[in-house]
């Protein structure tokens, strides 16, 4: 990875950085209670959104870039209009700070995970200000959530990953044995990546919960360090508590690179986001945003990758819109 650009966000410590749907823009949320919209390729700050009364911990933009949702330390989930910056909805039912928020694909629902141990599901289209469903299966804080095509994955500090399969109406609880901080479903929807507080990232098969790979050699013991999969699911990126950006090969679990953000700053790199299409990565350390670009093609083993993917194909019952056949 090569540092392409570095710019200060001027919003305190950056709590999260997220690309939008097409990767042209990014959103950052900071500890100074603001959300900022950027064009990261030119480090242009487009708009600042306010409304939270405490630091903003997560933000997500809708598929059409017209709305944002954000959750913060003030236990609120905000639904914000991008153009005007107006707060369209303000959901306030969590008992603890909101760790993660996510739109569904059509941006008609907001999922919010909180340290009160619940995931709450908010229907944006209705005028109700109560969640339509509360997932309170977790016995400890829910740290992050990831949304698959038809399932919701949550990671919790009760050392379990919960997969809420909406299509089958099942809840799969996977005991991992470590405190889980971040979960990421792969782009092929077959596996999920879990960041733990034991300095290892684990890759699991979503279907049967089997451990596929463990990625080590970085430090994550105290903070919630995010991880990311490359857009082709070949590489795994993660921040580290010693101020490094670390990249692994997904198949071999070999560490490809480990780059210091600043030679003199060893503060933890908490958040990062991978470009949805290109080989770009946005990370944030303290108040600065870093744009990384993959410098050259690292030799790839295409065949293995393919076989790996093929193995994972399972015979699920065919689903046709309108019902089962």
């Amino acid at each position: 990875m090569q540092l392409e650009r570095k710019f200060p966000a001027a919003q305190g410590a950056i709590r999260c950085v997220r690309y939008n749907i097409d990767g042209n823009y990014c959103l950052t949320s900071g500890s100074d209670r603001t959300i900022k919209l950027w064009k990261p390729d030119s480090s242009l700050a487009i708009k600042t959104y306010t409304g939270h009364s405490q630091e903003v911990l997560d933000v997500h933009s809708s598929y059409d870039n017209s709305r944002l949702c954000s959750g913060g330390g003030d236990k609120r989930v905000l639904y914000i209009d991008v153009m005007s910056g107006k707060i369209m909805k303000k959901y306030q039912a969590h008992a603890g700070r909101v760790q993660a928020v996510r739109f569904n694909e059509e941006a008609s629902i907001i999922f919010s995970a909180s340290i009160d141990g619940t995931v709450k599901i908010w229907d944006i289209k209705s005028r109700e200000y109560d969640p339509i469903q509360v997932l309170d299966d977790a016995k400890d804080s829910v740290t992050s959530l990831s949304l698959g095509n038809n399932e919701l994955l949550t990671s919790s500090l009760d050392q379990r990953v919960r997969i809420y399969d909406i299509r089958y109406g099942k809840l799969y609880e996977d005991y991992i044995g470590h405190n889980l901080t971040y979960i990421n479903i792969s782009h092929d929807q077959q596996c999920f990546l879990v960041g733990t507080l034991s300095s290892q990232i684990m890759l699991f098969d979503k279907i049967n919960g089997k451990l596929l790979q463990t990625f080590v050699d970085y430090t994550n013991n105290t903070y919630m360090i995010e991880n990311a999969l490359s857009n082709d699911d070949q590489y795994i990126y993660s921040g580290s508590e010693n101020g490094r950006l670390i990249c692994w090969n997904l198949l071999t679990a070999k560490q490809i690179c480990s780059i210091e953000h600043e030679s003199d700053n060893r503060k933890s790199v908490n958040t990062l986001t991978h470009h949805p299409k290109e080989d770009k990565l946005l990370t944030a350390q303290e108040g600065n945003i870093y744009l990384w670009k993959k410098q050259d093609k690292i030799e790839e083993k295409e065949e293995i990758k393919k076989t790996f993917i093929n193995d994972k194909q399972i015979n699920t019952s065919k689903f046709v819109s309108g019902g089962f056949e």
Binding site: D130, K170, N208
Partner: protein
């Protein structure tokens, strides 16, 4: 006219023709080309032309002089004052459209064009800017040389020669014209000796025995100098800023033309005896000893500039207040009638002009320094540094050997003093070991301490029961211990008023917090298991523990997969499925949304404010009230949504009657009455308006056939709405029907006479609150035909009708939906 433009073109001819013409300014050199190649010349010409034009245009006879009071040349709109047109006001310009625009006026906006002309207030003409310098002497010489050699010089060259960037400041320039050379000091010339003295005083350590300005003979001086030279040997310490090494000093002295060589001093003295030398070019810095204890750079009040004046003694002149209008002096405000002709009206009286001290006028430049030294009260010499204020380190006090920490009083001394300050850390361990009872003695409460100290002012009256050691009894450690156990006894006896109050408050305050806590507990109830079935719980716990250990084992063996995964059914909200575009795996009715009961939050809010209405704790009520949404059995009917709405409505209707007003003796006073009635109002009123407006008017007037149908239905429905109410009324306690709200039996013939009283109240209440169209007069008559003389039941009737309709609609919708879905499936 051309004389106005001194230095500009068309000057040559005049110069040549009549020599005795008075010339102002310096002329151009005759060698200068007079044709248009010289830009400056053309510019000058143009400028002159412009001025000419303006004057000829504005003034009718060229230039007119008016406005004598202001000293202006022109006045009026386009200089029309005095002309045929006279004075014309400026045109009205509407600011309606550009009201929001910036409206800041410059002085120029109010000035005439003539003011910008050469003789105006603010002449605008082409000038050479400050940073450039029209170095005429240079240009002239250059031009002279150049013009002789070549005629191919371009305009730019001339321009470049004429206008060059200024290097010297005007002050320097003037000084140089007066014969000053760079490097010299400015001031009155002084004799060499004097100068030398001054120099020594400034550059070197002055000898201690000689003040700088004291007159001395030459020989002595020489001796001094030699001494100083000796002193300057490297072994000698130099304080303050070190002087450059002697060799360097020598070079300096040699290079400087005016400075003197020390070697041939006598010779020089003789040579320059009568020659005055310019003063030294030294910037004199006076290093003052710091005497006060302010911070560095502190200057006291005078620099604060509190009132806008730098000096409080200076009269604030008008000039400062009105910076633009420069009116000064006493003339401002002097009227005609004041006959003070001898006064200089424009004189300024300034306190600065007065002397404040008697001083002799100083005559010499060195006296400036002396003055300075006198002012600051210091002697210009270097003093050996002496440590003035060393931080004194006092040795720690010597502790006598027989000193024991903690005071031991003689037996007669009564009030125990406050505990001694904590001993040094080194000794603290010993004390804790040696004297444990002393620490107990610290425990006094306010009363005992007050008694011991003899201060009873803070008590309303002396507590009778308080057993405090009487003043005469010796307070040994053992007796002090007694004090503390007695304390609870004094509080338990509610003798003091504040004790009673305290007790009461401790009883009363928990009630709101209790309810809040129950709320909280309700919210997190599912996180805990009830302790009632302990065996079950322990079994479950042990099971869980076993499971957990199994899981851990599996994880330790890295056997993720079937061992670590547990699968359970999870029912997503149908709405969630809909929004996610995923068909619901379960039937829509299967989803039990009792968890996310929509009323929960609102109820919580109402309960939060409940303590405002309660005065005694009503635990049973609150619990039943809170549990009511949970205890409702899950709907068994096919349409869950409808049943839900029914439930809520029925529930609310059961609560609605204000029973305590009817039967105050039998029913325990319910504190929920205000809230409940409010709720009921909110829920009941819309149907009243709605249906009274829709059904009563329209049905009676328009559709008779429909009315019959409706009435037929009503006869069926009458039973339904009356019953919840009547059943409650029959039941003395409110809790039971609330809890079993769904299991209300349909008791048809319960027409209570007591109902009427409620009705009346309700009517009176309602009449003030009715919104929308008024209830028609035929309403009661109609109700009478229904053999029901209560508006209340009628209201319930309409309510029921409404529900019925709703149900119907929903059924229809559902049917449609089913049809559609069927179609879709097919």
């Amino acid at each position: 006219m051309s004389s106005r433009y001194a230095g500009f073109g068309s000057r040559n001819d005049d110069n040549e023709s009549n020599e005795n013409f008075v010339t102002i300014g310096t002329h151009f050199d005759p060698a200068e080309p007079t044709n248009s190649t010289s830009i400056l010349a053309t510019l000058g010409r143009k400028a002159s032309k412009l001025v000419d034009l303006s004057s000829s245009n504005y003034g009718y006879d060229g230039k007119r002089f008016h406005g004598a009071f202001t000293g202006g040349f022109n006045a009026g709109f386009y200089n029309t004052v005095g002309s045929i047109e006279g004075w014309r006001p400026s045109e009205f310009k509407s600011s309606r459209t550009e009201r929001a625009g910036k409206r800041s006026y410059e002085p120029e906006d109010f000035m005439d064009k003539g003011d910008f002309s050469e003789h105006g207030i603010n002449p605008k003409q082409i000038k050479i800017r400050n940073i450039f310098d029209q170095n005429e002497s240079v240009t002239r010489s250059v031009i002279k040389q150049q013009s002789g050699t070549s005629n191919q010089r371009t305009n730019e060259d001339i321009l470049r020669d004429m206008i060059r960037v200024k290097t010297l400041s005007i002050g320097k320039k003037i000084l140089m014209s007066m014969g000053w050379k760079p490097g010299e000091g400015v001031g009155v010339k002084m004799s060499r000796k004097h100068r030398q003295k001054l120099k020594w005083s400034l550059t070197q350590e002055t000898p201690k025995d000689r003040p700088p300005s004291s007159p001395k003979s030459e020989e002595e001086q020489q001796q001094q100098q030699q001494q100083q030279e000796e002193e300057q040997t490297p072994g000698v310490k130099v304080y303050g800023v070190a002087m450059p090494p002697p060799s360097f000093q020598q070079t300096i002295k040699k290079t400087s033309r005016l400075d003197d060589d020390d070697d041939d001093d006598d010779y020089d003295d003789r040579l320059y005896a009568n020659i005055n030398l310019p003063p030294l070019d030294y910037e004199v810095h006076f290093q003052l000893q710091k005497r006060e204890h302010h911070g560095l750079g502190y200057k006291g009040l005078e620099s604060l500039n509190l009132f806008g004046h730098n000096n409080l003694f200076v009269q604030p002149s008008i000039e400062k207040q009105i910076s633009n209008v420069k009116i000064r002096g006493q003339a401002f405000g002097v009227g005609i009638e004041e006959d003070e002709d001898d006064k200089d009206l424009f004189a300024e009286d300034d306190l600065k002009q007065y002397d404040y001290e008697l001083t002799t006028a100083n005559d010499n430049t060195t006296d400036i320094m002396r003055q300075k030294t006198q002012e600051n009260n210091f002697v210009l010499k270097f003093a050996r540094y002496e440590s003035i204020s060393m931080s004194v380190v006092y040795p720690p006090p010597i502790i006598p050997i027989d000193f024991r920490i903690g005071h031991r009083f003689p037996k007669s001394a009564m009030p125990p003093p406050p505990p001694p300050p904590p001993p040094p850390a080194s000794l603290s361990n010993e004390t804790s070991v040696n004297e444990p009872p002393k620490q107990i003695s610290i425990k006094h409460d306010a009363n005992t301490r007050g008694l011991l100290l003899g201060d009873l002012s803070f008590l309303s009256r002396p507590p009778p029961n308080m057993s405090v050691p009487p003043p005469n009894v010796s307070v040994s450690p053992s007796s002090k211990v007694e004090v503390t156990p007695v304390k609870p006894a004094t509080i338990s006896t509610p003798s003091l008023e504040w004790d009673v109050e305290k007790e009461r408050s401790s009883h009363t305050t928990p009630t709101p917090t209790n309810t809040a806590r129950t709320q909280f507990l309700d919210a997190i109830k599912n996180r805990f298991t009830s302790s009632s079935d302990r065996i079950e719980m322990t079994e479950r716990q042990s099971l869980e523990v076993a499971l957990e250990s199994d899981l851990k084992k599996a994880v330790s063996l890295n056997l993720y997969g079937d061992l670590t995964r547990s699968t359970s059914d999870w029912k997503p909200n149908p709405l969630l499925c809909k929004r996610m575009n995923i068909p619901n795996p379960y039937s829509d009715d299967a989803y039990d949304d009792s968890k996310e009961s929509k009323k929960s939050r609102r109820q919580l809010c109402s309960n939060l404010f409940e303590h405002l209405f309660t005065q005694s704790s009503t635990d049973s009520l609150t619990s039943s009230e809170q549990s009511s949404p949970i205890t409702i059995p899950p709907p068994s009917s096919s349409s869950s949504l409808i049943s839900n709405t029914n439930e809520t409505i029925i529930r609310s209707s059961t609560i609605t009657p204000v029973i305590p007003q009817v039967q105050p003796s039998s029913v325990p006073k319910s504190e929920f009455a205000p809230i409940e009635s409010f709720e009921q109002e909110n829920q009941e009123r819309p149907p009243l308006d709605f249906f009274s407006a829709i059904f009563d008017n329209q049905h009676s007037d328009d559709e008779n056939a429909d009315e019959q149908e409706v009435e037929e239905k009503k006869t069926d429905d009458i039973l339904k709405p009356i019953n919840p109410q009547s059943s409650i009324v029959s039941n003395p306690s409110i809790t039971k029907p609330l809890a079993s709200s769904s299991s209300i039996t349909y008791q048809s013939d319960h027409s209570d006479s007591s109902d009427s009283s409620i009705e009346e109240i309700e009517v009176s209440d309602r009449s003030s609150f009715v919104y929308g169209p008024a209830i028609p007069s035929n309403l009661p008559s109609r109700s009478k035909t229904d053999h029901d003389n209560s508006i209340w039941t009628k209201l319930a009737n309409t309510n029921a009708q409404y529900e019925e309709l709703k149900n119907k609609k929903k059924h229809k919708k559902k049917k449609n939906h089913h049809k559609k879905s069927k179609k879709h499936h097919h």
